[in-house]
Amino acid sequence: MSKKVQVQARINGEEVEFLCEPRQSLLEVLRDELGLTGSKEGCNNGNCGACNVIMDGVLVNSCLVLGVEIQGKEITTIEGLAGPEKLHPLQQKFLEYAALQCGICTPGFIVASKALLDKNPHPTEQEVRYWLAGNLCRCTGYDKIVRAVLAAAEVNHEERR
């Protein structure tokens, strides 16, 4: 019924152009059109945070953004965090602290944590917990996740970028 729309955006530093239907969420566009399957679909209604991406510097649930809405915007997904040489400090600390079990919530937690550290490089434990209140982990590994984020915050700010 509705025609596909052409959209241009910058995703993980690269200019991309794609066609999508208005009803496709940004999450669906990332996963199904662009092959970026790091962002996960959990609840698909804004409660779980597994699909978190950063849009023009703001943390959002990509299931609650339409693909057509990202025209001209800059998106960072989990795939945009690590450099070619090594993991992002958050990823490294999540591994070191075993801050994951099944792993489905992990990309969302890491992207959300990146948005936090970009804004507040040295958060308190309480700030980390409140910030991550919109991310659900069904394996209930919250404590290790919080410790991993606090440890990543200790890593030199320069190194983290």
Partner: protein, 292 residues
């Protein structure tokens, strides 16, 4: 998800014309945190989602001590609480915008969307009502301004007519010796929908011994958020005392028409109205005293 068309309006006129053409088959897209879920879950059927975020008027966010606060309908929550001056002058509004959803929701969810979605439990509506906020509505006949307490007509229903949409809110500058507070009750610390929400604002005399005026508004205890007119009027001219605050709380309880659902029974909600009215009044008084 059902198929629909998407359009992004750049001017108020363009939006009004598309809305007039499509009537109820078009819905506004601002933050999308309610409408996208409603369409996806089949709770609402649309032909067109009309994105208004490119319209300058809905992105306004400005405060000055003479004209007060103007907030565009599409301004997301985080921009309001991150604005240092606005946060300092309107803490009663910040109470509400900072507890809607998590950070991811606050990055997108808008003040206008919270009102237009017209949930009886919407957190910002009681806060806006007690701050005497008005809505500027654009439509085929031009613009009109209505108080927030008159905007919702039932769950999910508003006074908006064919072709109309919410442009912005205007909040008067706070009076001297005034304060406001919004509190909700939820059975956990974060990320939940209000069992009951109450907003209160007070203006005190210079000596901070009496109420000059007060406003109290209730959420989640009726089909729409309610301005508890009598509960506020009872306090006008009265001494600040536990007894008078209790009388206002009882007057607020008297107009609550709660239902029983999975979040709580009607009786429990009525009880909470009393508790939260007292607490928000005390919080508003505290803020009024500090502000002086």
């Amino acid at each position: 998800m059902q198929a629909f068309d998407y359009a992004s309006a750049r001017t108020v006129g363009e939006a009004v014309s598309l809305l007039t053409q499509h009537g109820e088959r078009a819905r506004i897209l601002a933050g999308g945190t309610d409408i996208i879920v409603q369409v996806r879950e089949g709770r609402r059927s649309v032909d067109l989602l009309l994105d208004i975020k490119e319209i300058p008027e809905v992105n306004q966010l400005s405060y000055d001590p003479i004209n007060g606060l103007r907030i565009g309908a599409a301004v997301p929550c985080y921009k309001i609480y991150e604005h240092a001056e606005i946060a300092a002058v309107y803490p009663g509004l910040i109470d509400a915008v900072s507890l809607i959803g998590g950070i991811q929701i606050q990055g997108r969810a808008t003040l206008g969307g919270n009102l237009c979605n017209a949930s009886p439990a919407a957190d910002t509506i009681p806060a806006l009502i007690v701050l005497r906020a008005t809505c500027l509505i654009a439509g085929p006949q031009g613009t009109r301004e209505v108080p927030v307490e008159q905007f919702c007509t039932g769950p999910g229903r508003t006074i908006l007519q064919r072709g109309e949409f919410l442009l912005s809110f205007r909040l008067p500058p706070p009076q001297k010796h005034s304060g406001a507070r919004y509190l909700r009750f939820i059975p956990r610390n974060e990320m939940d929908i209000a069992v009951v929400g109450v907003g209160a604002s007070v203006v005190l005399n210079e000596a901070h011994t009496r109420f000059v005026s007060a406003r109290i508004a209730l959420g989640a205890v009726a089909p729409t958020p309610l301005l508890a007119v009598e509960a506020g009027e009872i306090l006008a001219g009265k001494e600040i005392s536990e007894e008078n605050i209790q009388r206002a709380a009882e007057a607020a309880q008297a107009i609550a028409r709660p239902i029983s659902d999975m979040r709580g029974t009607a009786e429990y909600r009525r009880h909470l109205v009393g508790i939260l009215t007292r607490r928000t009044l005390q919080g508003a008084i505290q803020r009024a005293k500090k502000e002086a």
